[in-house]
Symmetry: C2
Subunit: 364 residues, 2 copies
DNA sequence: TTGAAAGCGCTACCAT
DNA sequence: ATGGTAGCGCTTTCAA
């Protein structure tokens, strides 16, 4: 198969119609100031000649500096730190134009996010963000704000969770429902009778609620022999998670399986170890970071569901740049499959938890 | 965090040193015709000013049409067809310059590849490939050829398998050893005592041999209770696979687990079904395609290890373009983690087996 | 060895 | 409503 020989630019269209390239440009982009008739002729000819804009020329001419705000929580650092650094390296790798990143942090999901978002609206117009990357916590509290910001001309990209009822441009996240579902299938395959418990962050966060729904649904389908206990919310705090785990371990009968749906898993695992329950309770965790490695290697953790921050960052930035530069919205909603990390494939992911994630070579 | 205010181009360096931008360009790229002294001054100043080339301008000026040859086997189509179409869409999405793809096919791995490779060397110089994407079969037979092609100025990218002893520029593949290892871990978790069998393509193909090594090693570690039968080679042919499966099913004691390390799984699954062994033998397969879906949904297949052709294509093209345009070799060796697809996460991958993989939005 | 300048295709501005 | 043109930063050619 051979591709076409040569491709038409604005100049070719203009010549073919004996009009000026300025007019062609206006017509192609609907900038107005063109009669409906010529506009139609231009569009038709563009189609005929198979016009494809030269993006290098466009980028060079516009020479834009895209300014992107990034508002992410500090907690849980084991997820958001890699996400931040992946955003940084994805921005550096961007071809054709400069990306200026403005990182802002707040303590944790749902605490301080509203304040930061509000501040975005107050920015002087010469410092307006072209795009804003956020992880929405409770949609009820941020939907309206996100919509205002979007209407003020800043494209909003939700990462790691979503606020579907706001006017965000796009959303990138792991499919939360499926994450829960995988956890349930893995536990269902491994466990005999008994009850299983889940520890999550905060059920007002969409991502956390969806994980639980998926978990419950698949458990009911695939493992009628397992009972699901009421979900525990740790609010992504270490102490709470520890305390709640201890309480769970004191229940009789003791749960035989555990699904930890946020990266706040270490306190739980410590509590389990201290009560000498390691290996006796099957545990599925979320995400991947240094402190978790020994638990996977030892088999204390059956599997962890990795939310692929690098991939999320890459897609978020691709979405932003192709929207701002080409005007095309690639995919309003991306739902990634989490990586299922077991003992056998753990080595392949070790790159992701070291400093190497900052370097350029890492692709996923 | 605020990024730097403005960035230096060639012009700025030239002005700072009161020389012409032509000289600066020559010095920066070591094109010769520059005195060692000025070259050093330029390099130093570039460093000082934090020079970053404007890739849009470079692309515009060069306005290159990169010509890429793609030589992949027809069989097994369920893997290579998606790979081909992913290469096509990744090329279309490339910003800043044209990519001309030249697809060539041969019957199957190891049959006809040498002939096609040989033909590359005979191409007239004005039709030279800038890069060549191949899946090497038996390295003993292609290593020398690949090296010749590489030396003739065509960058070689291996996809789906590797020829590490050739002078290929880069290689992108699923980590084969780990794939085998995952299969073993999954079977080990599920099976009681018994023997397990593997059906592969051809053990001279590196990818196939590595899968087997990983499978055997992990089985020995994690499942001493399972015996591994000698590997069966189906040479990626349907009839052979069917026949060999029937033979396996007649063995006593009958194997309790099966690892199919290539996409040539349907004949095997059919044989198993016809012998009413579905669900009684745990099976791990490779890759994902329409015909496989019902087997996963029914539970006949415990899991399939998806080799992510879209991702491989994307990385291959990124590697090529950044090498040809920027002169940087991103990652000589990329080893992807296969996706472990179970019943619970299958829905997330359905996009990948429909026609949608041709559209632009799909990222993985 | 170095300088000067053209021009890649597009956008945007000014003129008509 | 349309035409004409400068200029983005780089590479390359021609001249000195």
């Amino acid at each position: 198969m051979q591709d076409s020989i040569k491709l038409a630019g604005i100049r070719e269209i203009a010549e073919a119609l004996s009009i000026s390239n300025g007019t062609v440009d206006r017509a192609l982009h609907g900038r107005g100031g063109v009669s409906a008739k010529t506009a139609a002729r231009v569009l038709k000819m563009a189609e005929e000649l198979g016009y494809r804009p030269n993006l290098a020329a466009r980028a060079l001419k516009l020479n834009r500096r895209i300014r992107i705000g990034v508002q992410l929580p500090k907690q849980i650092a084991s997820f958001f730190d890699p996400l931040r650094s992946a955003i940084r390296s994805a921005a550096t790798a961007s071809r054709g134009f400069q990306i200026a990143l403005d990182f802002e942090e707040y303590p944790r999901l749902g605490h301080g996010d509203v304040e930061l978002l509000t501040r975005v609206l107050g920015r002087p117009s010469d410092q307006r963000y072209d795009a804003l990357i956020v992880t929405p916590g409770n949609p009820a509290r941020v939907d309206a704000l996100l919509t205002s910001i979007a209407r003020s001309g800043t494209a909003i990209i939700c990462v790691a969770s979503d606020a579907p009822r706001s006017e965000r441009l796009a959303s990138v996240a792991v499919d939360a429902y499926t994450s829960g579902s995988i956890a349930a299938e893995l536990l269902a395959r491994t466990l005999p009778n008994g009850s299983v418990a889940t520890i999550t962050g905060d059920l007002t966060t969409l991502d956390h609620a969806d994980k639980l729904r998926g978990f419950a649904a698949t458990l009911a389908t695939l493992a009628p022999h397992l009972t699901l206990l009421t979900a525990v919310e740790s609010h992504d705090r270490a102490e709470e998670a520890y305390r709640q785990t201890v309480a769970l371990l004191k229940r009789r009968p003791r749960p035989v399986g555990l699904y930890l749906s946020t990266a706040n898993s270490i306190p739980v695992l410590e509590a389990v170890r201290e009560h000498r329950m390691a290996g006796k309770i099957q545990i599925v965790t979320t995400d991947l970071f240094n402190a978790l490695l020994p638990y996977i290697e030892s088999g204390d953790v059956l599997a962890t569901l990795y939310q692929r921050p690098q991939t999320q960052a890459k897609i978020a930035l691709e979405t932003i740049t192709s929207y701002l530069l080409e005007g095309t919205l690639l995919n309003p909603v991306t739902r990634l499959a989490p990586h299922i990390i077991l003992r056998s494939n753990l080595p392949l992911f070790l790159d992701h938890v070291t400093e190497r994630q900052i370097s350029r070579g890492v692709s996923f």
